[in-house]
């Protein structure tokens, strides 16, 4: 009896739980590779965080503190008012509203159009879809500055100057990089899913909205982050197309801190940095909220399925 019990226990698979007690107390030796890895991570963290912390330091300083040499990291007086006075200088909250509206609509346009185009190229067999895909792929490598002039002329001749149309409309015509990513991602989804849905009577629109969108959440979340950030940070297009201060975006407002061409006085760097820190918050929040999907999206791009 005893022997049988012992035998049963021996056959039972080991429990899938974390070791407790003495196992946890056992010290893992710090190998050279681990130390090197931590050192590298620390170095990278420092190089990435130092500029941000330095921004915060300047944002809290008085004008006199900023130019003191050797530079002091901690302000002699913490001037929290810079976070109120700086944004007020550029009508921050009005520009924030403008930027939000433009960025949200542009992001929707870029993601929706690119997803649809990517789906069509990957899942619908039509003549020339491969050629279309290569055309989109090639256009990734055309520098934006090359297309700026023709697009400008197009909008100028359409009387769209000093409106938000030139900042929003182009995004609805697809982003070549996003179309490329979408096509690759859709190729990784098994065809059998579409086939099953079609047997059940679903068309492409239903397959796209009901099946593909949930399945490709990491992809379009990644696109959303990238598109929102691109629109949020865009400086050149608002500069070129907008003439009325009431329609300006935050990127133009931030640039106004820098003053003019040899106009003299140094910029109010403390106001500039304080406002810039606030300017960074929305895309940063979006990234943190969606970072899990962002990582999955990047990780899944290499896979394909037939």
């Amino acid at each position: 009896m005893t022997s049988a019990v012992t035998t049963d226990a021996a056959r039972r698979p080991a429990p899938l739980t974390m070791p407790t007690g003495p196992a946890l107390q056992r010290k893992v030796p710090l190998s050279v590779s681990r130390i090197a890895w931590y050192a590298l991570c620390t170095l990278l963290s420092v190089t990435m965080l130092t500029p941000l912390l330095w921004m915060l330091s300047i944002a809290l300083k008085t004008n006199g503190d900023i130019i003191s040499l050797p530079p002091q990291f901690f302000p002699s007086t913490f001037t929290w008012r810079n976070f109120v006075d700086g944004p007020r200088e550029v009508h921050f909250y009005r520009l924030l509203g403008n930027t939000f509206v433009i960025a949200l609509i542009s992001t929707f346009g870029a993601v929706a159009s690119s997803m649809l185009a990517g789906y069509a190229i990957a899942r619908i067999d039509f003549k020339g879809n491969r050629a279309l895909f290569y055309l989109f792929t090639f256009s990734i490598f055309v520098p934006g500055i090359v297309t700026l002039i023709p697009i400008q002329r197009l909008f100028f001749s359409a009387n769209a100057i000093d409106t938000w149309y030139p900042l929003i409309l182009p995004s609805f015509f697809g982003n070549p990089l996003f179309i490329f990513l979408a096509r690759q991602f859709f190729l990784s989804v098994p065809r059998s899913i579409d086939d099953s849905a079609m047997i059940d009577g679903a068309g492409h629109w239903r397959i796209f909205t009901r099946l593909m969108l949930p399945l490709t959440k990491p992809l379009w979340m990644t696109m959303t982050i990238l598109a929102f950030q691109a629109s949020w940070n865009d400086f050149l297009n608002p500069l070129v197309y907008l003439n009325s201060p009431s329609k300006y975006t935050l990127s133009l407002g931030m640039a106004s801190f820098l003053g003019g061409l040899n106009s003299g006085a140094s910029p109010e760097y403390n106001y500039y940095m304080a406002s810039n820190l606030l300017f960074m918050i929305p895309p940063l929040m979006l990234f943190f909220l969606a970072q899990r999907h962002f990582m999955m999206g990047l990780g899944a791009l290499g896979m394909t399925s037939k």
Binding site: L69, T163, I168, L258, S263, A265, P267
Partner: protein, 446 residues
């Protein structure tokens, strides 16, 4: 509030925003309203506030409304070019000599000649007397065909900021209003500190590259009795360039000082120069008067002054350089626009720069506010004021940069021939003549 209602409200808010932002100005935004003028400035937030306050008085007096719009200095030329393409240039926009010359020759700017000369109807009522500009300032806005592409506003002067304490410690006499080029080179040498042959403190840092450029060395040449780079002293409409022996002589002296580490060379960026000067770490800084506003704001512990460009055997030469007001060719209401320009030069800069002194105004009566502000800054302020006054009043002026269309390619020649010669003390005579001949080829080929 349920979620569908929230979505509805969010949708309405975004739609309202889009409608507001997508309402355009139509094809041409050149102002057709007879009593409204749009003025675009690259000024700082503080300057814009002060201009608006002054122009409010103008509006009250004349009934002409002025909308002051701030544009970032970054990519400013691109913005102006886009507005030219879309025919949406404002009635007045800030421009530089080079921009005014370039656009003026293309026929894209309003020709202010008749207003400046008083021939145009209503021109004299505005109160701007063209004879009261600093000598040479208006010339840099005259195009070769006799047009006037802009009206000067903020003028620039150049000189050497010096740390009085450092000079006294080194036992070097302070620069005076009539100091010479040789004294400048000697002072830079005397104030340079070397340890084991390595320079640990450069005597003079250049935060602005005028001296390192061929037009800058022409200042040496002319003040020592030599010829300018071109007979057109404003460097507008240049037909031939000349390499005077005095130009070679000055360049040789500068190259020697740069190579020895007494003066910084063309590759020096000057990013930290102002901070170092304020903290007493640099004895001499070559630059424009505008830097002084940072020095006043920082209230450095050391004493400092501002010396003018040095004298030569033939006297002193001063820079002809000013920003200006430009207007589009198809300006809808030139007379009202002229009145606004006049108000800016006669009153607005006096009002604004008495509180935020950045630059003197090329229209000399418009500089009173600037000088009043300097008076509040003690001996350093007086030193800056004296230098600026002297240079503005000096009739012997030279342009500080090449302004003709061919000169856009001249920078590459300077980088390839002039700068290496300065920094490595190569055969200066050959380098100067090479620079001249290559630029002459550009002129001839244009």
């Amino acid at each position: 509030m349920n979620s569908s209602r929230k979505k509805l409200i969010a949708g309405i808010a975004i739609s309202a925003g889009v409608l507001a932002g997508c309402g355009g100005q139509g094809a041409s935004t050149q102002h057709k309203d007879a009593h409204s003028v749009r003025l675009v400035s690259w000024g700082t937030n503080e300057q814009i506030k002060l201009f608006r306050a002054s122009l409010a008085k103008f509006t009250k007096k004349t009934g002409i409304a002025v909308q002051v719009i701030q544009e970032p200095g970054t990519n400013y030329a691109q913005k102006i070019n886009a507005q030219i393409l879309s025919k949406s240039l404002p009635d007045i926009f800030w421009c530089q000599n080079s921009m005014a010359q370039d656009l003026g020759r293309q026929g894209k700017l309003f020709n202010w000649s008749d207003y400046a000369s008083g021939k145009a109807s209503g021109a004299t009522d505005a109160g701007l007397d063209i004879t009261k500009f600093s000598p040479g300032a208006v010339d840099t806005y005259r195009t070769p065909d006799g047009g006037l592409a802009g009206i000067p506003n903020e003028a620039n002067t150049y000189g050497v900021f010096y740390n009085i304490d450092a000079f006294r410690t080194a036992g070097v006499p302070l620069p005076t209003a009539d100091w010479t080029w040789d004294q400048m080179f000697a002072d830079a040498k005397a104030l340079t500190i070397k340890h084991n042959g390595k320079v640990t403190r450069t005597g003079m840092q250049q935060v602005w590259g005028l001296l390192n450029s061929p037009p800058g060395m022409a200042f040496y040449s002319v003040s020592n009795g030599g010829a300018p780079l071109a007979k057109q002293k404003s460097l507008v409409g240049v037909t031939s360039l000349q390499a005077d022996p005095k130009l070679v002589e000055g360049t040789q002296k500068l190259a020697t000082a740069i190579k020895a580490g007494y003066i910084t060379g063309p590759d020096f960026t000057g990013a930290n120069t102002e901070g170092q000067f304020i903290n007493g770490q640099v004895p001499m800084v070559f630059g424009g008067q505008w830097i002084s506003s940072d020095f006043f704001a920082a209230k450095p512990k050391m004493s400092w002054g501002y010396a003018p460009l040095p004298h030569g055997t033939a006297g002193q030469v001063a820079p002809a350089e000013a920003n200006g007001f430009c207007s589009p060719k198809d300006l809808a209401n030139p007379t009202d626009t002229w009145k606004v320009i006049a108000w800016m030069d006669v009153h607005a800069f006096n009002d604004a720069y008495s509180q935020d002194p950045i630059a003197p105004i090329a229209y000399l009566p418009g500089s009173q506010g600037y000088f009043q502000a300097l008076d509040r800054d003690g001996s350093a302020g007086k030193s800056v004021a004296d230098t600026v006054r002297a240079e503005l009043a000096n009739p012997n002026k030279l342009g500080t940069t090449l302004l003709d269309p061919w000169s856009s390619k001249s920078g590459n020649i300077t980088t390839a021939t002039w700068n290496p010669a300065l920094q490595h003390d190569k055969n200066i005579d050959a380098a100067v003549h090479s620079w001249i001949s290559k630029n002459q080829a550009l002129i001839d080929g244009h």
